[in-house]
Every structure is written in C-alpha cells, then in structure tokens.
C-alpha cells in the first residue's frame, strides 16, 4: 500500500435510527435548528446562504450553506473561518430497506486536524440523535483507515 499523508482530512460517522427518514430530516435538515441537536453549538443565525453558529466556548463560526435538498435529504455547507483552507460538511439521511434511517455525516477539511475536531463533535451529535428523537439507535462508525485487527487476546494483565 502506498502511504498517503495529505493536508486534507476526511472523516465519516453514521448512526442508524429506528424511524422514517422524514422524521430525522425535519430536524437535521433545517439549517436553523442545528443548535437543537448538535451539542456544543449554543446558537445559530441564518441569513440567506450564510449561517453563523456560536460554540459553547464563545467562538463564532461563519458558514456558507451549499445544499439543502429536501428530496435527496442532503445538507452541505462550508465553514469559512480563516482557519479553514477548505471545508465541506455533508449530512445525508438515507432510507433503509426496513424503513429505518441511516444518517451519515462527512467532514472534509484542510487543515486535516480540523476534520477530526469537527468530525468528532459531529459524531457526538449523531450519537445523541436517538435520545433527541426519543428513539433507540445503533451507532455505526466508518473512517478512512483500517482500525486494525490483531490476534484475539485471551487473558488480562501482566503478572
């Protein structure tokens, strides 16, 4: 395998929810409601295609809204604070065959560390969606790397 060390980081998290996708989309597909389900975002204002969220630390983060597709159930935005050379956030709500929903939140960012910071917070937000919607959920996770699978250990401890 050819090692790759890029300045752009890509992170993806997902959660499966036991409810129809339209119910999820009504919350996460509304750009003005992000502070209702994303822990650490205290408030947000939306004017045209500009959104500014204010984090719990008091940091305002300006964003540009790119896609709000109610048919595809896709939301995309860019964080445009100077610290980002590039950012693309993509939130998709898929309908699964059994009528449940799969919510996928992808974060691509340059500098790469910011993808982990934003993606980690997004993962936390996804993990709380089941409770927010009054549902039982099963969390799933996928990232670009292989988490690695070693031999299965059989005992604990060193002594």
């Amino acid at each position: 395998m050819v090692p790759v060390t890029a300045t752009r980081g890509s992170v993806r998290h997902a959660v499966q929810l036991a409810c129809p996708p339209d119910r999820v989309w009504a919350l996460v597909g509304d750009p003005a409601r992000i502070h209702e389900w994303f822990p650490g975002i205290e408030s947000c204002t939306v004017e045209g295609d500009e959104r500014t969220v204010v984090t719990r630390s008091g940091l305002p983060m300006p964003e540009r809204l790119l896609t709000v597709d109610h048919v595809l159930r896709r939301f995309q935005y860019r964080m445009i604070a100077p610290m980002f050379k590039e950012h693309l956030g993509t939130l998709d709500v898929h309908e699964l065959d059994d009528g449940t929903s799969l919510v996928v939140y992808s974060t691509d960012a340059d500098p790469a560390p910011l993808a982990l910071v934003i993606g980690g917070a997004a993962r936390n937000a996804l993990s709380r969606l089941p409770a927010k919607l009054g549902l039982e959920g099963t969390e799933h996770r996928t990232t670009a790397g292989d988490p690695g699978a070693g031999p299965v250990a059989t005992r604990k401890g060193t002594h």
Binding site: P3, T7, G119, G120, A121, N124, R155, T158
Partner: protein, 515 residues
Amino acid sequence: MGRKILLVTTDQQRYDTLGCNGGQLSSTPNIDALAAGGIRFERAHPQSVVCMPSRSTILTGQHPSTHGVWMNGVPLPVDAPSVADVLHGSGYRTALVGKAHFEPFLDPFFRFVENSMATTDGSVPPGGLHRGFEHLEMATHGAIGPLHYARWMMAEHPEALGGFYPALDGSLQVNAAGGGDTGAPQVKVNPIERGIYHTDWVADRTIGWLDTLGADEDWFCWMSFPDPHHPWDPPESEVGRVDWREVPLPAGYPEARAEREAILDAKPRHWRLWYDGTLVSNYEAPAEWVPATLTPDQVREVNARNAVECELIDEALGRVLARIAERGWADDLDVVFTTDHGELQGDFGLLFKGPYHVDALMRLPLIWRPAPSSTTPPSVVSRPVGLVDLAPTFCAIAGIAPPRWMEGEALPVDDADATQRGFERVLTEWDSELFGVDVHLRTIMRDHWVCSTYLPGTSHDGTEGELYDLDDDPLQRVNRWDDPAVAALRGDLVADLWDHQPEKRTPELVLEAPV
C-alpha cells in the same frame, strides 16, 4: 489519620534525565533524595508511549486495550473507572493540578469538562467530582487555550503570552518551526519570568490546594507537570544552567549518518520512512519536520533545554515537599514520581515520539518513596513493572483492596517481593489510525529482552518485528527479530505476549480529535 499520597508526574521524560538514574546533565537533588530513601525502579514501562492512553492507564490501572483509549484524541469515557474515585470514596480528599489530558485538547465546542471547567466552573467540577477529583486546576504546554493556567496568564500576565513557543502551527499541526541557537524544532527563547512559568504555577497551585486541607485529613494529590515535553521553551533566565555547547551527544545518537541509517534500515520500515520524511504515521511529531535534517548541535541544544526543565521540576517539587513538611505530614507522606512516557531526544537521529518501542520512549523514571512511618527499607527494583501498577499501589497505601477492574498489582518493595509476586513481564501497545495511515504493534519486555510484533498496517504486512537483547545491546541497535539463533526465544516471547495481552475493548472507542 492515614498515609497521604502525592503522585508527581512529568510529561515525556526519559529515564536517564535524573541524577539517581545516572543522568549527568540536570541536577535533581530532591528527586534523588526520594530515590535514596525509597524504591527506585530500573525497568518501569508505560503501557502506551503517548499521553492520553498512558495517563488513562495511570488513572484506571488498566491497559489501553481495556480502558479503550487506543490513541491520542480518543477521550476516556467519563464513567471509566478511576483510582481517584476509589480513594475519594474511602475518605480521601482528591485533587489534580497540572496536565490531565484524559480528554482531547482541541475542543472549540467545549464538549469536555477539562476544557470548559476553567471558564464555567472554576476549580470545582460540575457535580462536585470529575473522575474522582474534587479539585482540578489544569495546565498544558504554553499559555493559550481554555485551561486554568492559560486563563490565569491571559488575565494576569498577557504581556508574557508571546514568549511561549506556539506548540501548533497555523494548520493545527505540531509546529516544526525551529529556534534557539541551532534552529532545532520546538525550541524558542522564552523571556517569561520564572515564577509564572507553568512548572512553578503547578507547584504553587498544589500548595494552594494543600493549604485548604485540615491537618487530620487524608489526601491524594496528582501534581502533573507539563514539562519536559516539548516545546523546549523554559524561562530564558534559567537556560544558562546548561550550556548546550558543552553537552555531549547522547549515547543513543549515532553521529555518523551511514551508521545511523543502517541501524534504522534494520528496523521495520516505518522507522526509516519517518526519518526520511516519507511517512508521517502519527500526530505527535511535527508533520513538516524531517528527522534526517537533525544536526548534532540541535540534539545538544534540545538536551540542554530539556535538562533545564527537569531541574525546574525538581526545584518545584522541593518547594511542595517543604510545605508538606511544614504542615506536619512528612512522616505519613508517600511520594510516587514518574512520567507518562519518554522522548527520543536524539536516539537514532530522532526526536519526539511515535510507534517506536525502544528504551527512549519506554524506560521511565519511577520512584516510590513510601511514607517514612511505614519503615519500608530503601531498595532498587530491577524486575519489570508498569504504570498499570500505580493505581493498585495507591489502594495498597490507603489500605484499600484493589477493585477487580484494576489489571496491575501494587508495586513491589524490592526484587525479592517482585519475584515472589510474579513481576516477570510488562506490556506496551500502540494503535494509530490517522488519515489513511495505520500502525499497530504490541510489545513485551521480559527477562532482558524487548520484543515487538507488528500487526498489518499501512507500512507493515504483519510479519515484522523487533527483538533486542538489553544486556548485550542496551541501545537497541541490533534488531534480532530475524536472527535464527534466537528464533525459539522470539516465538516464546510472542506467545507470552499474546497470552497476557488484554482483550480489546468492544466496541472500539472513537477518535474524536487529533490530540
């Protein structure tokens, strides 16, 4: 009234930086005195060579596979077991002053208590306890950010903020910029007044908390210095203590380039790939820095500044011990001094840390000075122990049976005790997965051998390994993994490793930040 416990940790400190361990560069009389009156461990290893997993091991008494913090940026669950919680539940007053780092630093959303506490709660955590600590005042490397030290500096000494080296660059990568006299990475002239540098702040705040306690109270205080972890930017007024021009090159630094590179070539390929700047496998070293560019003078200057930071820690500890004596607690005081992991500091032509399980990163300073009232004789322990053994040691000091979730054992008081109680091996593990690059290795130290086996990853197919005879090759220059003469031994060590390696926690905890 029982025994008091002072746990003193530093960050990223090598075994050979203490006078009691043969160090020549820094003067560490207070730590040396603890060693002379207590138990000095010659073979203490961390269970991970990076901060968050290792600190989580200290707190939980568990290996990383069990507590689940498999790399920096993976937060330790808030409900993870904690020896501080056990002690607090037994009547101990508890505090952590200095660097915690059980939760990621980069957190603009204030998702983690460590980052939000100084802004929203002061020094008492929400609900009264966080991980068993009733009092937390936190600091890290520098004076920017939301932690208590940074906020204090911003409020009281804003003029001094610019003196620190910016640990991260504009891309939030570990900064590669050079400074000082030699242009060494993570070195900077810091004109800060010594008394407000974080080492003395940690000691001051520790004393401040101890002064709030009643004379008859029992307490557990984790005093956690951010130094001598890079950046190497100690107060400039103190830098003259060690003239880098007179610092000898460390034994682990092969000065001849050809020799250095031949040694690296005999190790698994990620060593040489990092040295050449071809592969950056982990966040903890500057991504833009190429180790092959490291010069002998840069090694000297880094070592000199590191030694100064070690001296400041020793002096700060001395002040705390003096205050404890003034409070009348000296006879009942147990002190444990150690660090979370080591630093390459020139070994093999490298700096910083990463998936490199050699003595530079794994052999730690560890001293346990039992309370004089316990009449424990001084000793030196050569048998292997781990940071996983600290939590049960604190329980033993407090007279508490260690909870079943602790995987270590109370530290032995001498080699006979260690032999009798089966201290035969110590394990260290590494897993990292960062933007398409993953590395996984497991290491056992047993008898006089260090054996690492690699799992499949970006640079490894799972057949690679490292095997060093510490008796014949203390600098770990000759990798005997493929030596037929020790094939049987290798097989035995690997089998023993997997026989004792704890099962990986499932589901795996999620990486939520770079650090």
